[in-house]
Symmetry: C2
């Protein structure tokens, strides 16, 4: 049910939630779609329309209660619980992810870390011990895991994705520079700073007529 909500809308909700959290921290108790839009470079109409998919959260003439709307968005997004995450790949990038402090405070707990290199198995990282990839499937089946993070080289990534999917993982955050194939029903988000750079250069180039 409720599957008619556009994905673009879903992708904006966390941004709204983040801004609302900032407003709450700043002691604001009410915000209008106009004010929130100014903060996020989004039109007020878009914010109102996005929210209207889920209910009526505002008060005419006033705006939205910051805490109240934040709580509702967190509920809608499922951020009112903690999520269990496994990380696969402990190269340079994987290490940085394992030691990144930003996930846990937001409710994403890296409960296990895997690598295919037998040398590194057993070493502690970001509070967990590195396990061997061979134990991935068993671990996933025994422990309730919600999300997988893939941080292995591109050539190994599809295999890892396949194993995660086969074990029932429904959401994958992919750091490998490739496009993973997943069956319908599995959600993927790709993090690739190089691709982001490569689209920006187009626009720089546009503005510098003849190119150095």
């Amino acid at each position: 049910m409720t599957l008619e909500i556009p994905e673009v809308v879903i992708n904006r909700l966390p941004v709204y939630a983040r801004a609302l959290a900032d407003l709450a921290d700043a002691g604001e108790s009410v915000v209008s779609s106009q004010a929130l839009g100014d903060l996020l470079d989004v039109t007020p109409a878009q914010i109102r329309k996005d929210l209207s998919y889920f209910g009526r959260f505002g008060k005419q003439g006033r705006g939205y209660n910051v805490q109240g709307l934040l709580a509702r968005l967190r509920e809608i997004l499922g951020l009112d619980r903690r999520w269990r995450v496994v990380l696969v790949g402990v190269g340079r990038l994987g290490q940085a992810i394992a030691e990144y402090g930003g996930f846990s405070p937001q409710g994403f707990e890296i409960v296990a870390v895997f690598d295919s290199d037998r040398e590194s198995v057993g070493k502690p990282i970001g509070g967990a011990k590195i396990r061997h990839s061979d134990d991935l499937d068993a671990f996933l089946r025994t422990n309730g895991v919600d999300i997988g993070i893939v941080a292995v080289p591109a050539l190994a990534a599809q295999q890892v994705v396949d194993r995660l999917v086969k074990a029932g993982i429904q959401a994958i955050l992919n750091y490998a520079p490739m496009t993973p194939h997943v069956p319908h029903g599995v959600t993927v988000r790709n993090i690739d700073p190089v691709l982001a750079m490569q689209s920006m250069t187009f626009y720089i180039k546009q503005r510098e007529p003849a190119g150095k």
Copy 2:
């Protein structure tokens, strides 16, 4: 000119280019929009339409020359030259970025690294020496810098963005968990794994009717 090309199209071009590079590495010399689409989970019509904004690169009955199309895309995106990048912020995240080996082979050269912490100034990192943020403006004006990477805490990020913009930087890769404000003509891409996670949980939740 050529500013009628949808941004979504521009954002897909690097993905196409990456797949073409992989095909080239695999020794493929020709690819159809169908085959490329299968690789990327994109419809063939979309690929053909996207490319049609820039010219006619294929041959009926055959498909596209892999090397040829790759070269054209790289040219369109401005990937046929090297780009000079500065990194601001050398906390945990900034360090990982500075030492990340993925930018340079793709033509993005981190030519200088800045931090506001005087303790760390002078220390070597990823091949550069850390400079103090106070020297950022002078550096940008003296050296030709194309792109800025922001990896400072959210509260300091807008200030850094403002300084980059004031110095004429036209593209910013933002790792801070906030929405930067930039004037028209400056391109921003945000990298935020937490937001990516937070949109995926919505979909997991959808599929698990009543919550754990």
